[in-house]
Symmetry: D2
Subunit: 148 residues, 4 copies
């Protein structure tokens, strides 16, 4: 981090819970948005940004849109590694995610979520200065597995 | 209802959603507490009591304890009938539930939840007068399939 | 339906459950994918296609990707109307969704999911003939609120 | 463990996810059954018993009943410690759980689940010998906070 940037993307790990599977025997597709959120929360804490977000602040990062690409199934108890990338786009913040497991050589799931900073009346406001400053140090990747 | 009581228990109907099943191909056991809650909310609305509960009132019925007996599995798209009984016990309110489906001749699931009226600081308070009055008209059953 | 097409899009109704909200007081964003799925299942049943899908058939419509745009929040007990459009794209099937509530004049949420027909080994196969035939009768809309 | 028993109860740790809260700002009561299950799965793995349970074996521990006592609320991002006790009762296995967080000096939630060993046709069968043998080494507590 000699140039002031983080030297690699943030990775959050967790296993697939029994209650997250469905009768197809795999993780229900809606749960990946929950994995992304958990990774985002862990990312905020790792960057010491928890204090910039509800409930520790009146601001929150409201979700404007989400996209998920389901490449491979994840099964009960698979150990998942959720990679996170973040970038500021004006008053918005875009997160990209890629999930890997030991079961497959390539991505299990990829996706992105677009957020805007909201105050406690759900009105868009400028992101917290500390968040803006931190985002300047993040790695980003233009080409990616998620648009394939 | 000539004697001022409801003439039968309240029944709430809904089907099992795909996302509520798990890899055992059946409804995940945690979801029955959600079915009970949905039935309780529908019961409150049917008794015109929605206004006595958060977010329409500062009061809410906080859950003190829950019990569920899993007698038979429920499968994707099974049509469930959730029977509800309610009784006041001092400042507390006890609900009993029995779930039936067309797949089985007997109960799929039975259970109960015990609640106390809470204000918006999570302090126990007397239940809303309208709730107390309505509960006097409810049917109750002492002997039941849920203690077997 | 004199020309052999359905005369309007399918609409599935349901209310927001208490357990589907989060501490922002609104529906958690992951739940919209569950609402879309419920609407899709109801759509299949309304079109008499349940028999073409797992568990009634060895085939299923696996989800390849999903997109959701969150325009307006939905609150506890809001009555939601989920509109569904479906179109075959070769061996794939694309669904579009738009959710309305009485609280807002415009869309609450819009989105789409892309599916491929899979056999019980998760291999892509041609969609069930009955599904193909039914899809020919569906309405589609090219311009839409979901790409805004 | 000189006497062949485990020297203390098993403890599983995890934080409260954002998507597990509800509009009361606290963990939705149904999620504690999911926390218990996650702790049970972690317990099985720690005791090297994963191979005795579905999907690694045709046997599974079906849930017969559950009880939960909600003593204190848990909030977003609270770090939870879920204590697990297990005991064989004939062909059944009873688990007890107690959840602590740093926010409260006493239990947040306590509960128990009763299980029976089932084969892949959902028929009760004798528990796996390895599970029986392992359970002999578990600590149990007769008096407890969960019956208060």
């Amino acid at each position: 981090m000699s140039d002031g940037t983080f030297d690699k993307e943030f990775v959050y790990e967790r296993s697939v819970a029994f209650h997250e599977t469905d009768l197809m025997q795999v993780v229900h597709h809606s749960n990946y948005l929950r994995y992304f959120e958990e990774a985002r929360v862990a990312w905020m804490k790792a960057r010491d940004l928890a204090g910039t977000h509800y409930p520790h602040s009146n601001l929150c990062l409201g979700v404007l849109s989400s996209q998920v690409w389901y490449h491979r199934p994840a099964y009960f108890d698979d150990r998942l590694r959720i990679h996170v990338w973040a970038r500021r786009e004006g008053v918005k913040v875009r997160f990209r995610y890629g999930i890997r497991s030991e079961r497959w050589p390539d991505w299990v799931t990829t996706g992105e979520t677009l957020h805007t900073s909201l105050n406690n009346e759900f009105k868009p406001v400028k992101p917290h200065p500390k968040l803006i400053k931190s985002l300047e140090k993040e790695i980003w990747i233009e080409t990616s597995p998620w648009n394939s």
